[in-house]
Symmetry: C2
Subunit: 282 residues, 2 copies
């Protein structure tokens, strides 16, 4: 089910700069029991991403209304009350050439997808990861933004097809640990929580920010800092996060094994409460 | 006029990974007097770009036939026998997630565009450039490839709207000079020709390679090397190149002025001959 600028459509004009240059941003929103989770935060990030790219962000009330329609549709037509909504905003149509048109009309795409199924309960049992060969390019102008230029993630995720490995660690071109291919990465060392700075590369996840807030509320020491492979592999606990998976503990990276520890479990419990409390009012 | 997988279409399925992730490559081909210039070279680069991204490249004969149809259409329906053909190949449709589908069917898009008009004869008179603030991220896995992740170029080209400036110099995040926003960049110093290495960032242009070959034929010393802003600004001659503009001499970057010199003119003359000799046989 897809809405393009409010109309039921499953296609987009080829001249759209989203296709031509990846000139746009997106959000992936979890729908649980018919409610879009952390909707305000997703819309805030969409707006700040649009602002960074000088794309005129669609009206917030309009987006909320279309996402609410999407949720109602999910409840009526999908076999589950859980689903995923993807929102894409592109700069719209505009010529053959990189220069953005002076007055572009952005394209907004709201699409509904079934909740992903996983063969195991990774939330409880944890996952195995590997180090990816594909690196994240360093670029402060684009770092943090959930934009449509995602070839690095595509190439990184294409590196393995072993079903026993669920996620890959991505380093930047300087060899610093940044994130997973589809998730942010945290670790615990001596009861303190750490994650990589995303000023140079990476995507600033909505759940990542929730976890930073939660760490404060739960009284954990938290530091955002440059992370090396050695620091990561010397961790007591490791986990990955995104809006759909929440938190997956990491029990293995390559040949290195990790315990699923108490801070991971506390943050999982806290995140569950945040998710339940932050549903859309619609 | 647009062909999608051989059918007249002006839309693409939203699930196409070209839109979702910029998961594809493209070529921009000059058509002069009804003939696509340097077609073999464009198709070779399309193929090597597809190979680098593990996209199954469409059949070469099929592409040649569609491009030839496009040229015939241009001759019949455009007011000029000169035109631009853009070819896009994406990985095709495939799920919500970075992981490429095991068996994806690539999407090929061949579109026809009018020859761009410029207010002045930049080929003769030269152009003015500026240094862009937006940097090119360093990533050896993607460097050289003409892929669909082009936000850096979009942001760089959005930096100015002064009609007296025709192109911008882009540096990588280490401050090295790489190329223009839509062109490769060469300079001449003490009768030797130089251009930046593109192992870390940038797009390996078709005309760039033709000029490297021509420099050899014309007996100019040529070196591909890391280029600093200081080296560029100390040049005797500077020019930019791409498949549509050919060579535009650079007479100014910011407040620095440059003569349009003899090597630039020799390469322009040589390139004109190469273009005339390398037309498609169709």
């Amino acid at each position: 089910m897809i809405w393009v600028n409010g109309e039921h459509e499953n296609t987009i004009i080829i001249a759209d700069r989203g296709l031509q240059y990846g000139d746009g941003v997106f959000e992936t929103i979890a729908v649980m029991d018919g409610n879009p989770l952390l909707l305000g935060q997703h819309l805030d990030r969409l707006q700040s991403g649009c602002q960074a790219l000088a794309i005129s962000c669609p009206d917030r009330a309009l987006l909320i209304s279309e996402i609410a329609s999407c949720c109602r549709h999910a409840a009526q037509h999908l076999n589950s009350s859980n689903a995923v909504i993807k929102v894409i905003v592109t700069r719209g149509q505009g010529g053959r050439g990189y220069r953005p048109p002076v007055q572009a009309t952005p394209t907004r795409i709201v699409s509904l997808h079934p909740w992903p199924t996983t063969p195991k309960n990774y939330t409880v049992e944890g996952i195995a990861m590997r180090f990816c060969q594909t690196r994240l390019g360093i670029n402060p102008s684009l770092a943090g933004i959930k934009h449509l230029n995602r070839l690095e993630q595509v190439l990184a995720r294409a590196e393995w097809d072993d079903p026993d490995i669920q996620e890959g660690v991505m380093l930047d071109t300087n060899g610093q640990v940044i994130e997973g291919t589809m998730s942010n990465l945290f670790y615990v060392k001596a009861n303190s929580l750490y994650t990589a700075c995303l000023k140079q590369a990476g995507i600033a996840g909505i759940v990542r920010q929730q976890l930073i807030n939660l760490a404060h509320i739960q009284g954990h020491s938290f530091t955002e800092q440059p992370v090396t492979q050695e620091m990561l592999l010397a961790a007591d606990e490791i986990f990955v996060s995104n809006s759909i998976i929440g938190i997956w503990p990491v029990r293995q990276i390559g040949q290195h094994h990790f315990a699923i520890g108490p801070i991971t479990r506390q943050l999982q419990a806290g995140l569950m409460q945040v998710m339940r409390g932050n549903r859309c009012a619609n």
